[in-house]
């Protein structure tokens, strides 16, 4: 086995680190306060190739592997997880179009998404269908050469700023023996596509999350992905998305650990720096070990995907483990800060709020375990 990064992977990592340090970190706290979406910086990330890291060059991407992508998300998330979730969702949309789009779909939608000229959103969740994704109520009815979409989608990341939406909808009749779900590419200017107001969230405040309503939205048949195999589209999209979010968790944990280490070196108690106290050293060792394991699992999932093998289990394991331990790491990092960690002046307070969503979105921890167990019990 060889765990060493290749020269390419290191260069992508360094480049994302440079961008996060010089462009994201200086504005992250202010954006958290203002809840402003950093449109200009996201555009800049696109120009640098960070919105299509592992998408082939012929489709507008940078052409690197998934390990490079994962490393880049980690560094961007270390700067601010709001940027990383925007990036991760765009990659999920790119990946779905790469896998299931026609050549025409790829040229029209994937190229601008992967090159950063456009932004994408994935519309799966509905007000009554979160973890129970099969319980979709959005419908798509064939009418001539178009499908007519009606329904409501909830918690749609990038919604306000997206040019392309992948929308899942039920295509089978109500009384059909088997429920069929399909996925469609919907353009932002489609008539009847109504974008709601941004949600006022607890964390990741510089990312954009809205409700999307579809009222008789006409979508050409050519924009249907994988026919009636929409569930497969959803699952494979989420599998790749889970590598993105697991990477985000690692980056967020890296930031929290750095904050804890810096604070423990500076703050004194009982006549010595906190980091000389065994009780604090115990926490630091625990946090460092959990982070190392999260990174290894995440990069392994990326490696398995790059090798062309089934990566559903490793991606879910990585997402589950990295998210749960991200929560533990930010919690301990805040604990090391004591009362100071509870005030907004300290970065750890932001990281704590940012982390909470990680065990919920892109499949809750509970759902990850369902996926993992299904892959293990055949």
């Amino acid at each position: 086995m060889n765990f060493a990064l290749t020269e390419d992977q290191k260069m992508v990592q360094d480049m994302a680190r440079d961008f996060a340090k010089s462009k994201i970190e200086p504005v992250a706290m202010a954006l958290d306060e203002s809840h402003e979406f950093p449109e200009k910086l996201i555009k800049e990330m696109g120009e640098l190739g960070l919105m299509g890291v592992n998408i082939p060059e012929e489709y507008g991407g940078a052409g690197f592997d998934t390990v490079s992508y994962s490393l880049a998300v980690m560094e961007i998330a270390k700067g601010c997880s709001s940027f990383a979730v925007t990036m991760s969702v765009n990659h999920l949309v790119c990946e779905i179009i790469r896998l299931y789009g026609s050549e025409e779909n790829k040229q029209k939608y994937l190229v601008p998404l992967a090159s950063g000229e456009a932004l994408g959103a994935f519309c799966l969740t509905e007000p009554q269908a979160g973890s129970d994704a099969q319980n979709q109520k959005t419908t798509a009815k064939l009418s001539g050469d178009d499908y007519i979409l009606n329904g409501k989608k909830a918690y749609i990341t990038n919604g306000t700023y997206s040019n392309v939406f992948i929308v899942t909808a039920v295509t089978s009749d109500k009384d059909a023996p088997k429920k069929e779900i399909s996925a469609f590419l919907v353009e932002k200017d489609a008539e009847g596509l109504i974008l709601g107001k941004p949600e006022h969230k607890m964390g990741q405040c510089a990312s954009n999350t809205i409700e999307v309503t579809l009222e008789n939205v006409r979508v050409p048949v050519a924009n249907m992905l994988a026919g009636t195999n929409g569930f497969k589209v959803m699952m494979n999209g989420l599998n790749s998305g889970r590598i993105g979010i697991a990477s985000l968790c690692c980056g967020l944990s890296m930031a929290a650990l750095d904050e804890a280490l810096a604070y423990a070196a500076e703050r004194k108690a009982f006549g010595k720096p906190l980091n000389r106290l065994p009780v604090i050293q115990d926490k630091i060792a625990e946090m460092g070990t959990l982070l190392e394991a999260s990174k290894l699992m995440t990069l392994n999932a990326a490696f398995v995907k790059d090798s062309g093998s089934n990566y559903a289990k490793t991606a879910s394991m990585a997402k589950y483990f990295a998210a749960e331990n991200c929560l533990k790491i930010v919690d301990e990092a805040l604990q090391i800060h004591g009362g100071n960690g509870y005030v907004r002046e300290y970065k750890i307070e932001k990281l704590y709020r940012d982390a909470r969503i990680t065990s919920i979105y892109e499949g809750t921890s509970e759902i990850q375990k369902v996926v993992i167990a299904r892959q293990m019990i055949r």
């Binding site: 390419d8 260069m11 992508v12 480049m15 440079d18 640098l48 190739g49 060059e57 940078a62 690197f64």
Partner: protein, 262 residues
């Protein structure tokens, strides 16, 4: 026009260093392109953007790992790179480095050689000056701005002096050492990183340069690094509070009897 930028790979100074028995522990270090050299690359690229026929080459003397720094420069936009790599370089000081660079440049055609004003690891700031002396060409230090005059075949250098900025015109060929106050080096795009793999990376050895092995490394050096250590931690200052008249006499007493500076 033809420019060269001399590059060095240095430990990332943002990382924590460890020194054991007077030696820097190198195993866990992350190495990066020297920040001053990155500014020299950036300034060359700004000129290249304006004067499209400018051909920019990079040259680096150092271990195999050094090619990572060259690839960064190529990813930023340089045309090609020369990696002078040889085990015989171990222990080279600025004099030995200048010997190697002199041998490299003696049969090259160029209008200007840019380099960082110093390296972030040793902070000597000698190599550029030594190289200019050996090549017998004009040299200006600490540049914060460059303007090329193609017709006059010269370069107008704005340099930061102690008392303000000075403008110095140099005729080609020349050497300019660059400050990192000159610009903010661009972050290479992923496309640039991908393209950098396809750009020429020319390997050069001591033998290729016709240098005797005793002209480089420790035997070619005029100084020897004996040991390294961290600066001693500074004591926290003392703060005095009270009436001004009392404070003045306390301060005078401390400066006279403890600090012994009065």
């Amino acid at each position: 026009m033809k420019f060269f930028v001399c590059c060095k790979q240095v430990p990332d100074v943002a990382m924590a260093f460890q020194i054991k028995d007077g030696e820097l522990q190198k195993d866990d270090l992350n190495y990066v392109l020297n920040a001053y050299d990155a500014s020299a690359v950036e300034e060359s690229l700004v000129i290249k953007d304006a004067v499209s026929e400018l051909d920019l080459s990079l040259v680096l003397m150092g271990a195999e790992k050094g090619k990572e720094a060259l690839r960064k420069g190529l990813a930023m936009g340089a045309n090609d790179a020369f990696h002078i790599e040889d085990d015989a370089f171990e222990g080279s000081d600025s004099h030995a480095a200048a010997n190697v660079l002199e041998a490299f440049f003696k049969d090259k055609e160029y209008d200007a050689i840019l380099c960082g004003k110093q390296s972030q690891d040793m902070d000597m700031g000698l190599t550029g000056g030594l190289l200019a002396e050996k090549l017998n060409i004009p040299y200006v230090t600490n540049a914060v701005g460059l303007e090329v005059n193609e017709e006059a075949k010269s370069i107008l250098v704005t340099r930061q002096g102690d008392a303000g900025q000075e403008k110095v015109e140099l005729s080609f060929p020349c050497i300019v050492s660059c400050s990192n106050d000159m610009n903010e080096p661009r972050i290479p795009s992923l496309r640039g990183i991908m393209q950098s793999k396809k750009k020429p990376m020319n390997k050069v050895s001591v033998a290729d340069l016709g240098l005797a092995t005793d002209a480089v490394g420790k035997s070619g050096s005029k100084s020897t690094l004996l040991s390294m250590d961290f600066p001693k931690a500074r004591k926290a200052g003392e703060k005095f509070e009270g009436e001004a008249s009392e404070l003045v006499s306390t301060l005078i007493d401390k400066l006279t009897n403890e600090a012994k500076v009065l």
